[in-house]
Amino acid sequence: MTSQYIINQLVNGLCQGFIYALVALGVAVIIGIVGFATFTQGEVVMIGAYTSFYVFTSAGNHLVLGLLASFATTWILGMLIYKVCYEHFLDAPEHISLLCTIGFSMLLKNLATIVFGVEKKPMLDIINNKIYHFGPIQVTKVQLVIMATVLIVCLILVLVFTKTNLGIRLKAVSQNREAAALVGINVKTTAMVGNCIGCAMAGIAGTLIGIYYQSAYATMGSTLSMKAFTSATLGGLTDVPLSALGGVLIGIMENLGIAFTSASYRDIFSFGFLIIMLLFKPNGFAKKRGGSRA
């Protein structure tokens, strides 16, 4: 087992981890701001991937255009999800909206199979791939583009949360809904915007995943939902930076695990990691701000 190989696995893990991180970010934003968990994140990713597939086939391989298109589509999808799964249940016990999101994810998945068909849609050569060598490290252009996109998106998100009015309203709603309502914030609209941001993150992740794995298909989101949740759990489900870190950790952990054992054990590593982590820190690593939401 050469060090070259381990480094390759680390790079693979890092890139996958970045993708998980982006999806996990979306989950954390949704749970933090809307207050309810979502099981549909994987399907939103899938819709994002299909959107960019159609953009690429009709308008050519323009990465930014694809990203913007999937951002917009999943934003609208986020509004729909909010109306169907969350708005009605804002005061209800959390399991009800959760079950609703499970139903919604089944709906999206099966509708996608019907509308888009069962075969995989090829997304080839959106980015002309090159391989770069930095010493012992080998990275492909696609991986670099993905990591850069994730970092830029995260940066924009941080700026929105800290510097803009909208961001401050979002944070207020995530900390205490009643208090936010008392100071005149429109909780419903703000929560909806929060949900839309989370879904749009997933949409961008979908485009990136489609480019990375060069195909889009209806069931691509299923395992991703669980991995994203696992990553977000690390951050106590609501903390955004920790969720992203969780995603990167899971990506690396899986790939290193596969390096030393076998590829069919991939999911054992992520779920095993989740279980072990939950055993030691039942509510994630984030510091609770008075009263657990979960």
Binding site: P93, I96, S264, F271, L274, A294
Partner: protein, 338 residues
């Protein structure tokens, strides 16, 4: 609307319940005579689901724990049964209970960390457990056959009659289903059941009244896991072939969907849920994948209109509308409607 008709039926049956029960049980024994064997396969599948959805109902519905990983216990029960029968040549009847017990022990194992967790975290750890069980089944080739699964599991014999095929195996299923109903009703009447209900409604209040939360949560998981394991153990000799693809998370979510549609927190809920769900799946077969769309829509509609399910516990937290409304409803309702 549903409430008043239920009350009317309740009054009628209350008087003649012994006779009605006996008639129903006799009628059930004649089912294989009435239906063709192909319909019997559907009925046997439904019976299998009655048990496992009932088991999930005990955990989610009666105790309010958010367990999404029922497929893990199902998997354990089925594999233990298959391994006992194939590798150790244990007779079917002797292997059934140990399969359930192993699943129950695993239920206790899962319950221990789950004691400290609530809501989403509990759901996540149960999902994690379910997947780990499936992956073990898929990868531990020497014991579970790995990707090859376990083939050629023999049908049981009952005093010389081979109980293979849906028409005969049905009798085993129906007896276990009735046994499950009987046991669960007795348990829910007892102190254990009441403790579970109190944990569901308000854990803090229950604790303050002296209910030992930890002990009862563990019992709850063990009980649900036991019956889920039994359901799996019944499945293996029925299909005569099992592999890890039978126990994916998706199967777990199907079970959850049936429970949610039918109703949580009541004995009848799982039955109605399985009935409705299988009805949709089977009758809508001609339209292909659209039937799953129909089921998904049904879940969403159910959550909007009646979150506790078609015949679920209306006077409980499961019916939604938050803490304030729940307390009002609890005051109005009769005690412990099961």
């Amino acid at each position: 609307m549903i409430g008043t008709t239920l009350t009317k039926i309740k009054d009628v049956y209350r008087r003649f319940y012994y006779i009605f029960n006996l008639l129903i049980i006799i009628a059930l024994m004649f089912v294989p005579q009435v239906f063709s064997k192909s319909k019997m396969t559907i009925i046997c599948t439904m019976c299998g689901y009655f048990i496992i959805v009932g088991a999930l109902n005990v955990i989610n519905g009666y105790c309010g724990q958010m367990c999404f990983g029922i497929a893990g216990f199902y998997c354990v029960g089925a594999y233990v049964m298959a391994i006992l029968m194939q590798t150790f040549h244990v007779s079917y009847w002797l292997a059934l209970i140990p399969a359930g017990i192993v699943a129950a022990l695993l239920g206790a194992v899962v319950a221990l960390p789950a004691l400290r967790m609530k809501g989403m975290f509990l759901a996540m750890i149960t999902i994690g457990f379910s997947e780990v069980m499936r992956l073990l089944a898929l990868n531990w080739t020497s014991v579970t056959g790995g990707a090859m699964g376990i083939k050629g599991i023999k049908s049981p014999t009952f005093f010389g009659i081979k109980m293979g095929g849906a028409s005969k195996y049905y009798y085993i299923y129906i007896v276990i289903v009735l046994l499950f109903l009987f046991c669960t009703r007795r348990v829910m009447k007892s102190r254990v059941g009441r403790a579970w209900l109190s944990i569901r409604e308000d854990e803090m209040a229950a604790k303050s009244l002296g209910v030992e939360i930890k002990k009862y949560k563990i019992y709850n998981f063990m009980y649900g896991a036991f019956w889920a394991g039994i359901a799996g153990a019944l499945l293996a000799p029925y299909t005569r072939y099992i592999d890890s693809t039978y126990f994916t998370l998706e199967e777990g979510f199907n079970v959850l969907a049936m429970l949610v549609i039918g109703g949580q927190g009541t004995l009848a809920g799982p039955f109605v849920g399985v009935g409705v769900y299988q009805l949709i799946i089977e009758t809508l077969r001609p339209i292909g994948v659209w039937r799953f769309v129909a089921c998904a829509l049904l879940i969403i509609v159910m959550m909007w209109l009646r979150p506790q399910g078609l015949v679920g516990a209306s006077n409980s937290k499961l019916a939604g509308a938050g803490k304030k409304a729940g307390r009002k409803k609890a005051k109005k309702a009769e005690s412990g409607e099961v």
